[in-house]
């Protein structure tokens, strides 16, 4: 390859490889190597001009040579990673290509074009690399260099190559990427040359140094970002403060201005009033004085006239004088009698005028002080804000009032009886609410409130009626009835006044996963609730009473087991001869003849048949209970409608379905009685424990011998209404009723 290229005349190919090798050794410059290419192309051009006729073989050779060179350049590029250098060659190629094309050698153009395109591609890659590599400097000078090179290329041929050989390395020196980074000197160091100087220093690979530097910068950037965010937040906060302060001051100014204007107005008004009053007084006084002056003058005139008349008289004849003197004396006497008022009617002195500035002073004072608050507004009772003994009263105030404290007064709302006026209580609080304690449950209280500050106290608010929550109800545990699907809970109100409703809360007692989960049934108007439940669970049940004030505390808990059915005997139906045990589940007929008590005047009590009814939960589901009997006892058990005739035997009518056992002469007789008829059935093993299954869904009543899981009989009965368990004893003995027993598996098929 080298040789091929070397054949070209005047290209100094011999030196070029040595140069190349030298630079290669020194990690220098592919540029110089690439310079071969422009040289080559110039050569080619020259050649082409000179030898037109032989262009074809030469062209082929030329192309080959060129490609060879090109590959070399390639190699170098790969070696050094200095892609930017391609730009140089590429430019040259670009220049060359069109030139060749215009030189009427299309094959050349085509051939030369191919590598040119390749190089262009590389250059693109190279540029990208350059863009990344910020460490490179000296770009500006490089452009100049290229210009220079261009200039040299045409004029000096080889000289340009030499020139570049010198120029470019210098340039490259700076551009050269350092291999390591000296931490001590904080400079990048080329691996080969300057490593000695840093021998003692701590060095790291350049990439690592770069990474760590980047990290540090990133860290700092992060800090800065944080600071910026903080500052921005602070700035916005400041802005807010600024606006608030501005607003507040604005408001203050406005306030002050209005006060000031008010005072000025008041003063002006006062001035006006005073001036007017003074003028009035002045006018009055002057008028009075003037009048006095006038009358005084008149008097003076009269006196003078008298004097003159007297003087004239004195000059008259004696007779005339005497005559006139008498008349004169009278006239004088008369005149003198009239009192000459010499007192000054109007006080000439200026009366001391006291100027009353108290209201102005007050106004002045009010600039700094505050007005007395206006009446607070008491809120109506919030739901669930009360307990049995306390209420939480809330009120509010006009926002610009200043209040130091409130006085909350209350008293129970009387029931209208005038004689029983309830005592009032007052508490002083600072807040706009107060929890008033020690109240009576389920009672209405009237509340009103006044606000106070040093300027005085407000009028009192409207009166609001609050109600305390009711006291907890009391569950009648003994009357709870249940079956597998439901329970009927009864309770007593516990409060004297009526309450709005009741809430039943239930938790599954033995379900750890559902621990604490409480189901509530709300809005129960009566003291009784039928609650749907899950079968075979234990429930703890609480009841709360509710009124407007809120719910009461929970009642004492009651427990419900939804296993089997659970009912009680209805003592009202109990025949007088029967006694029911303490626990309510044993029915006894005693041996001794109970004196026949007069049956109470009630039509609920059995009179003929010695029986009692149970109170089954009113749920049309499946009910199961068991009865323990003595083998020799005569008994009747079954179900009956509520209104089953009390004077008839059970099973003797259409309102009852019963199993009757009679034991006579060591024979057991079992009858399944309804409407006095029974199928003829014989049972070989007398049951001691009888299971009774009442199934509304299938309209069946079945009896079982529990001990041996034997089905004894099933009635198909039309149960349009609810039936109740019934028990009767035809002979002294006792029946034990067993409630809350899970339905045996075998009975579920009947």
């Amino acid at each position: 390859m080298e040789e091929d290229a070397g054949e070209e005349p005047g290209l100094g190919r011999c030196t070029a490889p040595t140069d190349f090798h030298f630079y290669h050794m020194d990690l220098y410059d592919s540029d110089s190597r690439l310079q071969v290419l422009p040289e080559e192309s110039t050569g080619v051009r020259r050649e082409a001009v000179q030898a037109e006729r032989t262009y074809e073989p030469r062209g082929a050779r030329e192309g080959q040579a060129h490609r060879a060179l090109h590959e070399e350049a390639d190699e170098l590029v790969h070696l050094y990673g200095l892609e930017d250098d391609h730009e140089l060659g590429d430019e040259i190629m670009d220049e060359d290509t069109p030139r060749l094309g215009t030189a009427e050698y299309p094959p050349y153009g085509v051939k030369r074009g191919d590598p040119a395109w390749e190089q262009r591609d590389w250059r693109l890659g190279g540029e990208a690399a350059e863009a990344e590599d910020l460490g490179f400097g000296g770009w500006g000078s490089r452009g100049q260099c290229q210009d220079l090179r261009e200039a040299y290329r045409y004029t000096h041929g080889r000289a340009s190559e030499e020139y570049e050989c010198y120029v470019i390395p210098e340039e490259e020196d700076e551009e050269e990427a350092a291999d390591v980074f000296c931490v001590t000197c904080k400079i990048p160091v080329r691996a080969v040359e300057n490593l000695d100087a840093h021998k003692e220093h701590e060095v790291t690979p350049l990439n690592q140094a770069l990474e760590s530097a980047k990290d540090e910068i990133h860290k700092n950037m992060y800090k800065l970002e944080k600071q910026i965010i903080d500052m921005e937040n602070f700035a916005s906060h400041l802005e807010e403060v600024f606006i608030t302060v501005e607003e507040n001051f604005g408001r203050q100014e406005q306030n002050f201005e209005s006060h000031y204007n008010e005072i000025l107005e008041t003063l002006a008004q006062k001035y006006e009033e005073k001036i007017q009053a003074l003028g009035q007084k002045k006018k009055e006084k002057l008028e009075a004085l003037y009048e006095q002056l006038v009358s005084c003058g008149e008097n003076l005139d009269t006196c003078k006239e008298l004097m003159e008349t007297i003087e004239e008289m004195c000059h008259e004849e004696k007779v005339d004088f005497l005559k006139d003197a008498v008349a004169m004396a009278d006239r004088l006497g008369q005149f003198l009698k009239t009192k000459t008022d010499v007192e000054i009617s109007a006080q000439p002195d200026f009366e001391e005028q006291t100027l009353d500035f108290s209201d102005v002073e007050e106004l002045m004072g009010s600039i700094n002080s505050i007005p007395a608050p206006s009446a607070p507004v008491i809120n109506p009772q919030a739901p669930n804000s009360a307990t049995g003994s306390s209420v939480r009263v809330c009120w509010s105030l006009y926002s610009d009032d200043t209040v130091e404290s409130y006085q909350l007064s209350y008293r129970p709302v009387g029931d209208g009886s005038p004689g029983k006026d309830q005592a009032e209580f007052t508490v002083t609080v600072k807040e706009t609410y107060c929890s008033v304690k020690n109240l009576m449950p389920n009672t209405q209280y009237e509340f009103w409130v006044t606000a106070q500050n040093r300027a005085g106290s407000s009028p009192s608010s409207e009166r609001a009626v609050y109600m305390t929550a009711p006291s907890p109800p009391i569950i009648k545990s003994k009357e709870i009835r249940s079956c597998e699907e439901a329970a009927l809970i009864c309770w007593e109100s516990g409060s004297l006044n009526p309450v709005d409703s009741y809430t039943v809360e239930l938790t599954q007692a033995e379900a750890p996963q559902a621990w604490g989960v409480t189901e509530s049934i709300v809005g129960i108007p009566t003291c009784e609730a039928l609650v749907q439940l899950q079968p075979r669970q234990n429930y703890t049940i609480y009841v709360r009473a509710l009124n407007v004030g809120g719910p009461s505390a929970r009642s004492e808990p009651a427990t419900v087991h939804t296993t089997g059915s659970y009912f009680h005997l209805n003592k009202d139906t109990c025949h007088p001869w029967l006694t029911i045990s303490e626990d309510g589940f044993t029915v006894m007929r005693s041996e001794r003849k109970t004196p026949m008590r007069e049956p109470l005047a009630s039509n609920t009590r059995f009179t003929r048949c010695v029986a009692v009814l149970g109170n089954l939960i009113p749920v049309r589901g499946r009910h199961y209970w068991e009865v323990e009997v003595d083998e020799c006892l005569d008994y009747t058990i079954g179900v009956a409608f509520e209104e089953v005739p009390r004077h008839e035997d059970l099973g003797a009518n259409r309102l009852s379905w019963c199993l009757r056992h009679t034991f006579a002469s060591s024979r057991h007789k079992y009858e399944f009685l309804h409407n006095k008829t029974s199928p003829d059935t014989r049972i070989t093993v007398p049951p001691r424990r009888i299971g009774v299954l009442l199934d509304y869904a299938n309209s069946r009543l079945s009896f079982f011998n529990v001990d041996i899981s034997q089905h004894l009989h099933s009635f198909s009965c039309e149960l349009h209404r609810l039936v109740h368990p019934c028990f009767s004893l035809e002979k002294p003995g006792c029946l034990k009723i067993r409630n809350g027993i899970p339905m045996p598996k075998h009975v579920t098929f009947y």
Binding site: P679, T684, S709, H711
Partner: protein, 343 residues
């Protein structure tokens, strides 16, 4: 085969109502089968509507391959199938038929199985055509098996001479006397061979097996239970022969089958068996029509008395207005108590 066809014809009018088309298919099938005597399974595939038959055909194929069960008829009934099969009995050494009701539930799960033993003169057809038990069995998911009452076609002299002995009157005993002892082994057939066959070929739960029967079959049900404590979950009998040693029909049969020694008879007498019963808890239900003309032959009181003495639980129901046990009563016989045992 022809006989089977005619029996189907005469005794199954109600089934025709259910699906007359299907019945028609069965009949034609049987005829073709009789004529061509090629495997009916494939014909079934052709003759039955595709939707219902494809799966059934599969099942049938499986059954036939596994054992020597031959389906004689199959009728849709209350969502399930009432089928009759024929097989070569090892115990009885003849071809035997038995009826199987497969409830809809049997397609997806193992079902409890209930055996019904018929009375004198009956075949497997009486119960399946007259009783209408299929409705209850379908609802409760019960497989009901009704075997024949005796070996047939054994060519034993005197076999067909009387209605109460021989053909149609096997009395559910294993005969020990010639010439009967080869074929007349109905006890072993109903307690061993048939259950094995059924358990192997139908989706049954062998743990939940019960038995009931009528008249001679009631006797059979009682002795099967009493002789195999724990094998049957419950037993019910409708007008059973309760004390066959004292009943004229069975005295004759026992004498022929078991010989003159009455002590050997006790092994097949429910009233005697109950006196020595020591097995697991029983649950016996007996229904008896009050006006039954054969009441004095059945002697339920003897059985009741024995059970009372032994404290074996029986509920004995004397039904009004049933002179003889008639079709209407079959559903009562399929009592709920039997179902309960399958819980």
């Amino acid at each position: 085969m022809g006989a089977a066809v005619s029996r189907v014809d005469s005794h199954q009018p109600q089934k025709r109502n259910v699906s007359s088309c299907r019945m028609h298919c069965v009949e034609s099938l049987c005829l073709i089968f009789a004529v061509l005597s090629i495997s009916h399974l494939y014909i079934l595939v052709f003759f039955f509507p595709p939707g219902s038959s494809a799966r059934g055909a599969d099942k049938k194929k499986r059954i036939s391959r596994r054992m020597a069960l031959k389906q004689v008829s199959s009728s849709k009934s209350f969502g399930g199938f009432q089928k009759v099969f024929e097989h070569d009995s090892v115990e009885l050494k003849c071809k035997m038929k038995f009826a199987v009701y497969l409830p809809p539930k049997a397609e997806s799960a193992k079902c409890p199985v209930l055996y019904f033993l018929s009375g004198l003169t009956c075949t497997e057809q009486n119960f399946i055509t007259k009783s209408g038990f299929q409705q209850a069995a379908s609802e409760h998911g019960l497989i009901v098996i009704a075997p024949d009452t005796s070996p047939r076609g054994c060519n034993i002299k005197g076999e067909d001479d009387s209605w109460d002995f021989g053909t149609g009157a096997g009395f559910y005993v294993d005969a020990t006397e010639d010439p009967w002892k080869t074929n007349y082994r109905m006890y072993s057939y109903v307690t061993e061979e048939l259950p094995q066959l059924v358990n192997a070929n139908f989706p049954v739960d062998p743990q939940r097996t019960s038995i009931f029967g009528h008249s001679m079959g009631g006797h059979g049900a009682l002795i099967c239970t009493l002789k195999n404590p724990g094998k049957y979950k419950s037993v019910s009998a409708f007008a059973p022969i309760c004390n066959p040693m004292l009943c004229v029909w069975s005295k004759k049969a026992f004498g022929e089958f078991l010989g003159p020694d009455q002590n050997k008879w006790k092994a097949y007498d429910a009233t005697h068996l109950v006196k020595s019963y020591t097995g697991s808890q029983l649950d016996i239900l007996i229904d008896q029509g009050k006006a039954d003309e054969f009441y004095d032959q059945l002697l339920p009181e003897n059985f009741i008395a024995a059970c009372t003495e032994k404290k074996i639980p029986v509920v004995f129901r004397l039904q009004e207005l049933y002179p003889v046990i008639l079709t209407r009563s079959w559903d009562t016989t399929l009592r709920l108590q039997d179902l309960s045992q399958f819980a």
